[in-house]
């Protein structure tokens, strides 16, 4: 088979390459923006933060950290515990089950509305919380 150059192919491939780059750039930008709201173990140990449990059971954190003050993300706790901390830029960790994205959505919403840079999301259920605490402790030495 003889290879022939066609200007149509050149145009189609050029457009496809630009579109593929644009899509890649867009998705990595979105990932970077999400990462900014996720709780990184390398960051300061946030066990002193207010932990807000938005999981279905609402018992994620006490299973891993007994005695830890944990609140639900409902209206009453929001006005009593969460809002005063949000306005003072105090750390808040929102935890959620594996596969649930509510914590990330809430972290973004509260960070934008209250300009709080310390609102972080931790998804993945109890195993993620255990993993985070172990890693955070190792970072602390």
């Amino acid at each position: 088979m003889k290879l022939t150059f066609s200007p149509i192919i050149a145009v189609i491939w050029a457009v496809a390459l630009v579109c593929a780059w644009a899509q890649h750039w867009n998705s990595t930008a979105a990932e970077r923006s999400d990462e900014a709201f996720m709780l990184a173990p390398s960051a300061a140990y946030q066990l002193d933060a207010l932990w807000v449990d938005v999981s279905i059971s609402g018992k994620l954190v006490p299973l891993v950290v007994p005695g830890k003050l944990v609140v639900r993300g409902d209206d009453e706790t929001f006005s009593r515990f969460i809002a005063p901390r949000l306005v003072r830029d105090m750390p808040i960790v929102i935890v959620c089950d594996a596969g649930c994205q509510s914590s990330l959505i809430l972290a973004k919403k509260w960070a934008l509305e209250y300009q709080n840079k310390n609102t972080k999301a931790l998804e993945g259920g109890t195993s993620a919380i255990k993993q985070y605490i172990e890693k955070a402790k190792s970072y602390e030495g």
């Binding site: 149509i8 192919i9 491939w13 457009v15 496809a16 390459l17 579109c19 593929a20 899509q23 890649h24």
Partner: protein
């Protein structure tokens, strides 16, 4: 309104030609998306469980090269390109559907990146592309 048979005779080959251009773009876009983020495509292939893990780097390279060949043939040898298009899409759809039926979280990596797919949307989209490409191929083969 009366439609001349000569009008439809001209219209259908034009539609086939435009479909070939569209499919050529689709395959080129899919290929470049995979080349740009080949690691994500390898991760996607892992979710399908169709290849042994040690063959994944080779498959991840071969698939986009094959897609570029189809994209090229759709313009230079339209009938062959259309035949390869619907055959390739049919094989891909069957493999992904089998993986979905096994209850796996599957990412086809079709347009680069790792993102789990919705089975029904993926199936409907691919069946539509296969059907139109098949009809275009029949028309193309008949006109030769």
């Amino acid at each position: 309104m009366k439609v001349n048979s000569s009008d439809t005779d001209q219209l259908i080959p034009t539609l086939v030609a435009w479909w070939a251009i569209f499919m050529s773009w689709i395959f080129a876009f899919a290929a470049f998306s995979k080349f740009i983020d080949i690691k994500s495509f390898q991760e996607s292939l892992l979710t399908i469980y169709a290849f042994p893990p040690h063959q994944l780097p080779l498959v991840a390279l071969a698939v986009p090269i094959f897609e570029l060949v189809i994209s090229y043939l759709l313009i230079t040898r339209r009938c062959l390109g259309l035949f390869l298009s619907f055959t390739f899409l049919a094989v891909l759809t069957i493999v992904v559907q089998l993986a979905l039926q096994n209850g796996n979280e599957v990412s086809c990596g079709c347009f680069g990146g790792y993102s789990p797919i919705s089975g029904s949307f993926f199936f409907a989209r691919n069946v539509a592309l296969i059907l139109v490409s098949y009809l275009a191929f029949l028309r193309c083969a008949k006109s030769r």
